[in-house]
Symmetry: C2
């Protein structure tokens, strides 16, 4: 974390205690939190923190390329501090978002009609599945019924 603070100090990003708390919370966090998750967490240490601060900070970090906004849950945005190439797998039962560390870029050749029409700049791949815990719950339900 020391490193992180030093890094931001150099980068036109005023380090306030609230921002440091948000950075700390996001650093290495693979839970893909929403703005509300972050707000709830930061509120524990800074009871007066406002949503505006959380959203402002997330926007600033997004613009710096330090975090990604994850569009995968139709109800709300999630945030991911892992900006390296990876994908997500969402449990269709509990909506938990997991990481899939793999680069599929070579596998996705677009049809020539599309390449003619678009200057392509990237892609998103998400997977859907049922996680181990939810599979277990399903088995237990089956036994009961």
């Amino acid at each position: 974390m020391k490193k992180i603070i030093a890094k931001y100090r150099k980068r036109d990003f005023k380090l306030t205690p609230q921002r440091i708390a948000i950075l700390r919370y996001l650093d290495g966090n693979t839970s893909h939190p929403t703005a509300d998750d972050i707000f709830t967490q930061i509120k524990k240490a800074y009871p007066t923190v406002s949503f505006a601060t959380v959203y402002n900070t997330l926007l600033a970090l997004k613009e710096k390329g330090e975090i990604l906004e994850v569009t995968i849950d139709p109800e709300k945005k999630h945030y991911d501090s892992n900006v390296t190439t990876h994908h997500h797998i969402i449990c269709t039962e509990c909506n938990k978002i997991g990481d899939v560390i793999k680069d599929y870029s070579d596998a996705l050749r677009l049809p020539s009609e599309i390449l003619k029409e678009y200057k392509t700049v990237g892609n998103h791949i998400d997977f859907y599945g049922i996680c181990k815990e939810c599979q277990k719950e399903r088995r237990e339900l089956k036994i009961k019924n």
Copy 2:
């Protein structure tokens, strides 16, 4: 369209004039409209139509598997009457959503760690690019400046 009406009449889906108008609007429509787009369109013929009707109808159709909810725009849901395997390409300038008719299912082999953890049920692939019109606009801007 006659066919469509006959099809729904058989399927536990009460056909009201509003619903027929929504079905007509969605049939073969590749514009990936939002609930608001649909509402605005239907209002022309049925000025008293409410958002609740649009959302109710979309939910019913989604549950029947007749349309897909497209989670690609972080601000709102889009709907797609094409339920066959295909993908989307979003223009990063104008946010227009285009179709990519191609099946990549063979190309996406999940890592074994994931296969151990999840019973996989599907995937979503989206592409990002700049569409022809926006490329043109960019060129014209460059000339002006």
